[in-house]
Subunit: 459 residues, 2 copies
């Protein structure tokens, strides 16, 4: 068994477990109380906050513990927007942020605010001048992740923080994926993180608000955690979260180098061993443990199941693996193939042997899935002089692309294939296939059901 | 050492600890994932929800796990108010609810809604017809605790639920203090609770929303927990919370009878052993483990410290023990003495010997505090024919009452004492002292600083 989904949640670090169990006895009382159990709880909480602040690189009174990373993001964005409401109601986010950021942006829009979603390159990175270009007098807040959770691409946070600072706009950095590896560089204003991403327990997030940032907590008042995180402090989990952050940081430099070598191996060898694969994300500026690739003519859910059977736990941004049947917004924003998508995110301590076994198993698994899917007869292929129409209505990713691939050879160079599809993933995957295959994507046309995707054979 | 503050938070139940530690290994993964660690987490979550629903007495799909009891209250009230916004924006709460409810009500008012705060009797209970009388066509929601957290008085929840149901208004019951003792009776619509009040871990609350109740979650969207509790599920804590609820329920009937006898003992013997004590809260309709009393001429903070030194951890609703220097809103709403207030809340398993030791130590501790405070000379006492003016400006509870008591004998029967005080607690404590002493409280008059409290000597 190999668990390769650390970006969703890491197994509890041994130090986290030890600290959690130890503080169950010392840290259950209310730190606001005056008696000895309360004073002991208060001391644990103060010590944890001090250690966390040092690891983040902030003042003790700037850091609050929230009940999750998602809560930290929701509260951080809402509080910063409310604090700067007089300045304006314009919010900037990148288009590849975590859903908690994008949902906060949606809520802000629904509440009458305006949102700019900054595009990313094909590697998933924002350009600094994209942020600079959309900052304006009414901008209340900008948000940027330190690194992407699906493809691992690191963002130019320090540079974006600098242009925001110059414009007098606070930058909130979602550091969920990177805080275990090191502090976030640059002159940011707010920061959020989640303990269970670095091997800490569930139930603990961090929200840091730099002194001088206008911040107005939303929702009912509460006296705990500077009014920024209502509810009884989850002290054993907080102690455990901070202890494990310190522990992973101590191992970070060495472990980062080791995982970086392992993911480099995957990046290099998957395309050699598996035909028709696109490795996505920045090859250099990236997190140590995340590597993501997409396999043409494969559906993500079957691939995940087959890898699970082979003993590998990975995740996927393919449409068929999401409850909404839409592909990952990150892959969509990058404009890369989403079908047969696999994200491998290695937890610290991943054995080299497990990675080697994954590399040896993957080609057979992909080939097996393709074989199962590879034989379907196009439902209705009407041949015209220079055009083939493929009716893929009602069929899901990756079938439309498979059917396109099977008939492209039936038209002469210069001829077109028209794929009728009502699958949302086709909008992304057919242009991506054309890119990979050197065919021309002519465009999308409205149709009775779904859309018609027109591809010209150029090769 | 005896910990007598279970109403703030109970030490972890052994079953909770066992379940927490066991599920750290099984329950760390994302229950939304398809691989085996995710499926195992999903099974644990589903089983916990099923068990919790059975213990609450609701359907599985009506129950969500939140990150704390406070969050459950905030989300429950906000969601119910938003869901019934078309009906109206009137909210009913009792004046002795937990601060999370009252803060939600304040936030609703700040947002333009209207709030009725229902008064309570001197025992802390609401009258059913008080709720009935304020229900109106625009009432969106009513809230009532199952039992009070400071004085232990049980509320007539089933009866209030019936009048609300008849008016078509949902009732939200804050069951934080009682759920460990048994399910909440009656036809309520929403229910909230907090695991660490019943010996479960911090970081877990329950929010139950009955089918058919209009409910619109607030804040950014999130796909977890029916959209009612954003963020990664804290699965080990959830499993532990439910396991301990089941365990405390199994022991509830027997333990309730035992604690009820111990608190009855305290209710009876404290007024015998300590002069000038008022025991507050309903003597019969009450929680098994909570008993509250107030001691004249004593300041709460010193009393707490002395009890702590003697090995007893209790809490207090006195003004001097709160960060805002105002007395507990519960004692204020009941109109009872708040000075020298002590809440004893016994955790399940409390040893009889500890209670006996408390009863034997308390009289000496109170006498010691009174002795330390008992000798102050009134700052300026100007004698007039029939009136004594006591200038207690700048002095805190219990000094104004002590000074009043020291001079009341200096005026003839029919004469008055005028106490000048700028201490918020005096507004409550001087009338309460008059009640206890059979003197007449004439009223409060404006003064240059603070207020003048006029007392006529009748005995």
């Amino acid at each position: 068994m190999a668990y390769f989904d650390a970006a969703s949640g890491a197994p509890l670090h041994p130090v986290a477990r030890q600290a959690l169990v130890a503080s169950l006895d010392e840290g259950w009382a209310d730190p606001a109380r005056l008696y000895r159990e309360g004073r002991r709880a208060r001391m644990l909480l103060d010590a944890a906050r001090e250690a966390a602040a040092e690891l983040v690189g902030c003042r003790v009174d700037e850091l609050t513990f929230t009940s999750s990373g998602t809560r930290a993001v929701h509260s951080g964005i809402a509080g910063a927007l409310a604090g700067r409401r007089r300045v304006g109601r314009h919010l900037i986010v990148s288009s590849v942020e975590h859903s908690s950021v994008l949902h906060s942006a949606d809520a802000h829009e629904a509440d009458g605010g305006t949102v700019t979603r900054v595009a990313v390159s094909r590697t998933g990175a924002v350009a600094v001048d994209s942020y600079e270009g959309v900052l304006r007098p009414g901008t209340a807040l900008a948000c940027l992740q330190s690194a992407n959770h699906e493809v691992g691409t690191a963002q130019p946070v320090a540079e974006v923080a600098a242009v925001c600072r110059a414009a007098g706009v606070p930058l909130l950095v979602d550091a969920a994926q990177s805080l275990g590896w090191g502090p976030v560089e640059g002159d940011w204003s707010l920061l959020t993180a989640s303990a269970h991403k670095w091997g800490g327990p569930s139930g603990v997030g961090l929200l840091v608000v730099r002194k001088g940032v206008r911040f107005a907590p939303r929702g009912p008042a509460d006296e705990r955690e500077s009014g920024r995180a209502p509810g009884f402090e989850n002290l054993p989990a907080i102690v455990s979260a901070v202890a494990s952050l310190r522990a992973v940081r101590a191992e970070a430099a060495q472990e980062a180098a080791r995982l970086r070598e392992l993911t480099r191996r995957i990046r290099a060898r998957v395309p050699e061993a598996v035909p028709d694969v696109e490795v996505v994300g920045d090859p250099e500026r990236r997190l140590p443990g995340i590597v993501t690739f997409s396999c043409l003519y494969v559906d993500g859910e079957t691939l995940l199941h087959e890898l699970d059977r082979a003993g590998f736990s990975v995740s996927s941004g393919s449409s068929c693996t999401s409850s909404t049947l839409t592909p990952s917004h990150v892959l969509r924003a990058m404009g890369v193939l989403s079908e047969g998508n696999v994200r491998v995110s290695l937890p610290p301590g991943t054995a080299e042997d497990d990675v080697e076994r994954f590399l040896s198993v993957l080609p057979g698994v992909v080939a097996g899935v393709r074989e199962k899917l590879g034989a379907p007869v196009p439902a209705a292929a009407v041949v015209r002089p220079d055009e083939v129409v493929v009716d893929s209505l009602g069929k899901r990713c990756p079938i439309p692309v498979i059917e396109l691939a099977k008939v492209i050879g039936d038209v002469p160079v210069g001829g077109t294939v028209r794929v009728l599809s009502d699958d949302e993933a086709a909008r992304l995957d057919i242009p991506a296939w054309c890119d990979m295959r050197g065919q021309e994507f002519v465009g999308e046309e409205p149709a009775d059901h779904g859309a018609a995707y027109v591809v010209r054979r150029t090769a």
